[in-house]
């Protein structure tokens, strides 16, 4: 691995298409387009443009970084599937970065990270990965007083008494690239896998099975 690896990172886990190109410590290019629909169509043209603008090609990449959520289920799968396809074609590692790791990048370890969930709800987790992240239901996450609550600048944040909201100053795709670079440097790579925190909405049938009588 070169000392200044070239990493392409992207994320569609929320209502945006975000991408960044990181070379060593330097961001060569990045893009962030708010978008509710059409991420599957827009992602690769955006990546092409980003690479071309920086004078790079897919073959130059040392790793692919991707946001794995939690967030919009379909959005997560769009990027994770794309990253896995790219990684297979390029024979380079794909690295999964959770939304908590990205929004909490650079924060003190005990910082609580908040991410938007559907229907105005929130996902909560800790920046250092400790504890169990949750889809917050009002009392399933311990938020101590004086807690710092990290979030993306444009997102709403749940209100906790005594807690201080703090926006992540680094854009999402850059944060994903930087978190992935740290994984790459440590040699401890997490392959991308969608991170849901909520099971699929499905319930087994409530109808009791038919009684089969003995023929005898």
């Amino acid at each position: 691995m070169p000392s200044d690896p070239l990493i392409l990172g992207f994320d569609t886990s929320a209502a945006h298409v975000a991408a960044a190109l990181l070379s060593g410590d330097q961001v060569l290019a990045q893009t962030h387009t708010p978008m509710r629909k059409g991420q599957a169509e827009t992602l690769f043209p955006a990546l092409d443009k980003l690479l071309t603008g920086a004078g790079k090609a897919y073959a130059d990449l040392d790793a692919i970084a991707v946001g794995v959520g939690p967030g919009n289920f379909t959005g997560i799968r769009i990027s994770v599937s794309a990253a896995r396809g790219l990684a297979l074609a390029l024979d380079r590692p794909a690295i999964g970065v959770t939304g908590f790791a990205a929004v909490g990048l650079g924060a003190t370890p005990s910082t609580i990270c908040s991410l938007p969930a559907a229907a105005g709800r929130f996902y909560l987790g800790r920046a250092d990965g400790s504890g169990t992240p949750v889809l917050w239901d009002g009392d399933n996450f311990d938020v101590p007083p004086q807690a710092i609550l990290r979030h993306w600048p444009d997102d709403a944040v749940p209100e906790f008494a005594g807690a201080t909201a703090q926006a992540q100053p680094i854009p999402v795709a850059e944060a994903i690239c930087r978190a992935a670079a740290a994984q790459l440097a440590s040699g401890q790579i997490t392959p991308p896998k969608p991170y849901y925190l909520k099971p699929a909405d499905a319930a087994p049938s409530k109808t009791p099975p038919v009684v089969i009588l003995d023929d005898a």
Binding site: A40, E41, T42, L43, F44, P45, L47, D48, Y58, F73, T74, R77, I78, S79, V80, S81, A82, A83, R84, G85, L86, A87, L88, A89, L90, K193, P194, Y196, A200, D201, A202, A203, P204, S205, P209, V210, V211, I212, L213, D214, D215
Partner: protein, 365 residues
Amino acid sequence: MEQTVCVLGIESSCDDTAAAVVRMSDKGAQILSSVVEGQNELHAEFGGVVPEIAARAHAEKVDGCVRTALDDAGVTLAQIDAIAVTAGPGLIGGVLSGVMCAKGLAAGAGTPLVAVNHLAGHALTPALTDRVPFPYLLLLASGGHCQFLYVAGIDDFTRLGGTIDDAPGEAFDKTARLLGLTQPGGPAVEQAARNGAADRFALPRPLLDRPGCDMSFSGLKTALLRARDQLIADQGGISAQDRADLCAGFQAAVCDILVEKARRALSAARDMAAGQPLAFAVAGGVAANAALREGLQGVCETQDTQFIAPPLALCTDNAAMIAYAGGRLFAAGQRDGLDVSARPRWPLDRAQAPLLGSGKKGAKA
């Protein structure tokens, strides 16, 4: 000089994640590998395919299937001339995973992408397996689809008729569920029907009294449910013999509908073919049913038509058919951009009025 192309196919439109490599030339096609990873156990307790569960599984399986398909075929991605992917119609979450993985592969390897209609994959399978020349008549009968297609070319389909509600495979699954049999329902119902009397229960043959080739299976499902519930009301449950008789009656009704409609579709197709030789082929999982095959074969014999039933592994969902259809389209010049959409609805025959679905989202099939 003869040109050979090697195509990677990807399929993820329902509950099978599949990848395949097909090598094609003017002389025919050879399936170098075909990997299908099913999800039956994931959906078993829900009594049907749950779209979100299917989507989650596809997202984690597609790239692995591609790797296995390449390894099995003994080729590298660099030796692939085109990447063909099912872009619809189907469960959109799964289709998206396949399409995005294909885009990643195409971008990373610099390989052309071809978006394939899943139904075209089924419809062109007789050309893949048996080199059947155009035109031919195809009955696609599966868990999600049921239609008669007059296939005149790789992108020339005329729908002669189709279901106006459920697909027969779905009706087999429902029957199995109602009668306490295992999923998938097709094989379980067929097995139980062997010991049953088809004439014990009077089950309807919807739309059989109407002209044309359209079909309906919804009312048949309801009639079966009513017959079952009557037995339960009378005796507190159903016996194994009741179950066998219900299965036999249900299967006979499905066969009667499909066979009679096939007879009419074949007459219409022969008119369209205007003297050209015309084969009749089946595709879809329901085509595995032996009683149905026998009935369709009978229709073909009376109309002096060749009957073609591809191997079951190529009748049910697979990626070899997508690779083949994509390869034919590629040879004809089709290339899709990396901005191509995954489509939940995508009728093959755009000239016909929609049978299913309408409004803003358009025709389903």
